[in-house]
Symmetry: C4
Subunit: 368 residues, 4 copies
């Protein structure tokens, strides 16, 4: 353990955590976590689209004190990075989501607890982290109500409703093998039920429409975050239905074979809700401080990270995740200094341009 600490404390890139995690996971866990839907093109799309943006550095601005903090649904985060919901943290560390929650608490961010958590919400809540509850909205409306109540009772400060999995995703060949290989790692469903759902069983209500969201809006006073919005049209509908925040997300490339890159979809979503109180976050492929800065410049209030959380956990449990988040925050701090932004609010559209864009006089519209 001490040795491991020694190792990852010295990591300088999230890639090093990824490599360490890969060497610790079983092949099935590695593929289940690392792969995407179909041929995995969505993962590549997310990452390569980020590289089509470059930062416009600014000089001779006072950056002696850089503040990476931001507010998300009114709560202050130490940095504009949330721990996105992902299933089965026990695959990565024995303590599962409890370790994740402690890391969230230590680094001043929020854990979005997955509906497919491998630890009970009580155990996770005990860590004292700020927590949102991510909901897969199943066919049983009563159970949905129970889940919402449960989230409220355990102090969750928002409901994150994942809407991009209304039907099963396109399963790739290696992912199919991985799923079989996971053995008896099963999501510990957060509510007692007569029969435990097993991980192969699909429980998403594919009949849902914005009407049903109105029902949910009336059911709880918790802020509602819709995860998986990729178009201006849906963003507008969300704002009209009183949704508090959106996550521009393609589920880390796990739902659709060839989804659009999330950073490509971000600007239209941001524009669509401009002037409303709906906040916009984004996830998918955020791996460096630069990536985060690009998202903020294009109008996101924060990013969520998915797989990196699991890399941190697999590398060193709670400590590994804390180290990963510190590294990311350090990178963001450096990047903010370079673009001359002492606060995240200063990271505006003029801080980025498309790579290859040769004309700064049109920088405010060039890439859009």
């Amino acid at each position: 353990m001490t040795e491991q600490l020694a190792e990852y404390q010295d990591f300088h890139a999230l890639d090093e955590f990824a490599a360490a995690a890969d060497s610790r996971w079983t092949p099935a866990a590695r593929d289940f976590i690392g792969l995407g839907a179909g041929r995995g093109l969505g993962i590549l799309a997310n990452e390569s689209a980020l590289q089509s943006w470059a930062l416009r550095t600014r000089v001779l601005r006072d950056v002696s004190s850089i503040d990476t903090s931001t507010h998300v649904l009114g709560a202050q985060l130490a940095m504009p990075v949330l721990l996105g919901p992902s299933a089965l943290h026990v695959l990565s560390t024995a303590e599962g989501e409890a370790a994740t929650a402690r890391a969230a608490a230590r680094t001043g961010t929020v854990l979005v607890l997955s509906a497919s958590t491998s630890r009970s919400i009580e155990d996770v809540a005990a860590a004292g982290a700020r927590m949102w509850f991510q909901l897969y909205w199943g066919r049983d409306r009563e159970r949905v109500t129970q889940l919402i109540r449960m989230a409220e009772e355990h102090g969750c400060t928002a409901l994150c409703v994942t809407v991009d999995m209304s039907v099963p995703g396109v399963l790739g060949s290696r992912m199919a093998v991985a799923l079989r290989g996971l053995g008896d790692a099963r999501p510990l469903y957060v509510l007692p039920r007569d029969t435990q759902l097993d991980s192969g069983e699909w429980d998403h209500d594919s009949r849902l429409t914005w009407r049903d969201l109105e029902w949910m809006r009336a059911t709880t006073t918790l802020p509602i975050v819709l995860k998986g919005i990729m178009t201006a049209e849906d963003a507008r509908l969300a704002a009209e239905h009183g949704v508090d925040a959106l996550v521009v997300s393609n589920h880390g490339g796990r739902a659709l074979d060839t989804p659009r890159a999330t950073i490509d979809a971000l600007p239209e979503v941001v524009d669509a809700v401009a002037g409303t109180s709906t906040e916009v976050y984004v996830d998918g492929g955020f791996r460096t401080g630069t990536d985060i800065a690009v998202a903020l410049a294009l109008g996101a209030r924060a990013v969520l990270i998915g797989r990196p959380v699991l890399w941190g956990l697999a590398t060193g449990g709670e400590g590994g995740l804390v180290a990963l988040l510190s590294l990311l925050r350090g990178q963001l701090t450096s990047v903010m200094g370079m673009v001359g932004a002492a606060s995240v609010a200063e990271i505006d559209r003029a801080r980025v341009c498309r790579t290859g864009a040769g004309d700064g006089s049109r920088h405010d519209s060039a890439g859009m």
Copy 2:
């Protein structure tokens, strides 16, 4: 056989069928089927152009019942996928086109029987599938008339006239070797003739013009489908000459060394016949549910698959092809759920955008 079934029933991507087929074909058959004209750039063009399109997912739409069926020339298909014409199915399965026809019948689609079929039309018709007859229009007008009558008599519901091979294609080096290696696999020409054409003999009438098409239009009441249209100009001419449907096709990259990708040509063809009753289909490189959805979004009524039919047959005969088609339909169903389209008619232009397009507010014109 039972073992093989076990294997391909578990495939999750058409690539797996392709790999299985490759391992069963002779090298000559593998190259004859897999390669294209010249350096094979047309094959790459078709596939990579498809990847320049991304889907725009929509959420909170009722997709509890997704209907993949469509109508093609007035007939209902279980999904918008036809089995495109290809020569010599005996290279892939001993029963040849009879197996293909049974798979078409079982999956509710249409078989377009190639003029270079390796089984007689009687044998194929016996399977009871809906069938179109694909015609290579040779120099002997009387024989053409006989072929049309034959198609009519065996219940074919359309004539598919392939017009993109008026001259021999540009032969690549490996393809030349493959052709020699095919040995005595020869198309069984569907009409008795004095001397059997051998596969090296070219019989396409390169004098043909739209005038001749008028003759054909007058000769039969069967709907006429022109296969191999790649421009707005020809699409307009086709509509003016009463052609019932067009297949935007570059013959799977087998005719021209470096043809335009079919998905790139599709929009101009669709626009050219807008407002007429001429239907538009497309083929070339369609391998996933996403690919099909992109074609529909850009205005195609259906896609044809060429090589995948042979992959299915080579992998497991009729059963292999049924499995492949089921997989494709499953993928399309998933994709439709993700883009919030409960029926194929709902897959409209707003469901796609160019990869890298960063501005949703212009999504309806951005990619065009």
Copy 3:
């Protein structure tokens, strides 16, 4: 020899000739011929720019008789391909330029005899081919006059003045080695002189301007072809100075480290001399019938081939070159059939579009 014939008669792509030639040349000859200036990026640029164009095929046009012939400076060629000037054909075949000339005569095209020929002009002229003489314009004006007279006397029908080497090119590292390795292969200068120039000696008059061209225009009645024009500005100057034809050329990537691709420069040159009698040809990377068709569609009257001539010669001397030219003509014939052009004049701008261009209604301007 008979065996070699057997081999190359069966080639289906110029690449096969290239590979055969590579295996016969000494390493020094292979590099001297195959490489370009600097890092060789000009060679890549020429070839990859050609791949950014696609053909727009047309159907149901009478292509039963396809005529690949064209006129160049009033003379008929069997196909729109000239044998471009290149040094030292003895490196490729013992008979040198005499073999090349015989192949030109047999295939109905023109040989542009290089100023650095390795056979005397008398020997080459004996083959009875149509011939242009390519001139490197050295510092000694008297010698230039003698060269022009010599060309006139040996029946050359045009002077091809190469203007893109007014200063020595940027030498790459491997090319420098190759040049040393060529040993005593030296251009046999076509005029007797007191001291033989050796191949390392540079004799290009870098003081030349359009004024000097006026002198040359007055000195001879032979048509003047300027080789190495890459801009609209120079094309306009050339037309104003009574130049009969231009070759858009970057010297096969041998002059400048990173020149513009010739196919990218072609349209501006064509536009600049539109309405004048100045003809435009292009060279650099033309390897297939499609490549030639693209050049014609973008306004070139013909293409020149450089290295392929040497591939043909190295593979089988005169016979190898004849086979290569026949293959190329066959490919062009096939391509013309596919785009529905029975004559080269019909290969107009509407026959091509940029790869990836999704809108045919704008095809006439899209790529420009």
Copy 4:
């Protein structure tokens, strides 16, 4: 020594110097010098962006006498290339910056002496080269004043203030290892101080703003060059604050993980100060005569080279660097001849276009 001379005198590309240097450095030195921030994407960006520009060659212009000289801050340089500031030349040659200065003197260019020099300014000045002093502006204002005085006293003709490192850069994993491996190679700080800074200690004043620059402007009569300007906004501010020259630079990709390519930023900076007396230079990835010509065409007055200086030194000390600079000058001369520019002033915007740009009639705006 004689043997080494023999070798590098024959080099034909800077790559050969790079390879020779790599084989002589320790692994730590090689990585410290060769790598960039984060994943090194900035290095790739600089080099690949340069390749998106092509030269437009011109012919029949008198290029018999090509003058590569230019003026920079009123002083004449033999060519538009300065030796950019870089730390610790002793890692490359035992004599360190003294060797560099002698090479600068011999080749008629300027050495920008790094604040992290490994030789004292007295030793370096002894070589008699023209010299600018590069300043990292630390927290101790008095020390900054002393450094300026020192530069003035040792005959430096400009102050080069590097402003793109106000905060520590994003450290990549391999770079972190390299830094540890450098052992006791430490910048010899140019002023006596109580305690020597060690190379790990960061001394950049991150509070600085344009206000402070006003102070510096008033403190010295030396011309002030700001290094690290990447936007039109900052360029305008610099001109307003009386800055004499700007270096468009991303610190050779060593500051930010994914900076914009400098050649992409150059045009907006040039436009922003057009009409003022502020000069613009650029650095990052300039490796050939073509690269330099592109920069000049896009409005830079000169380029700085960073790593190539160290390649030259490591290959052969002073002599190696002289050879490298001669090679570069030879390449530039050749390129100027090819684009028909007898002087650097003639290398205007019309000499370049984007690769792939097919329309010369719009060349003056196409790439912008």
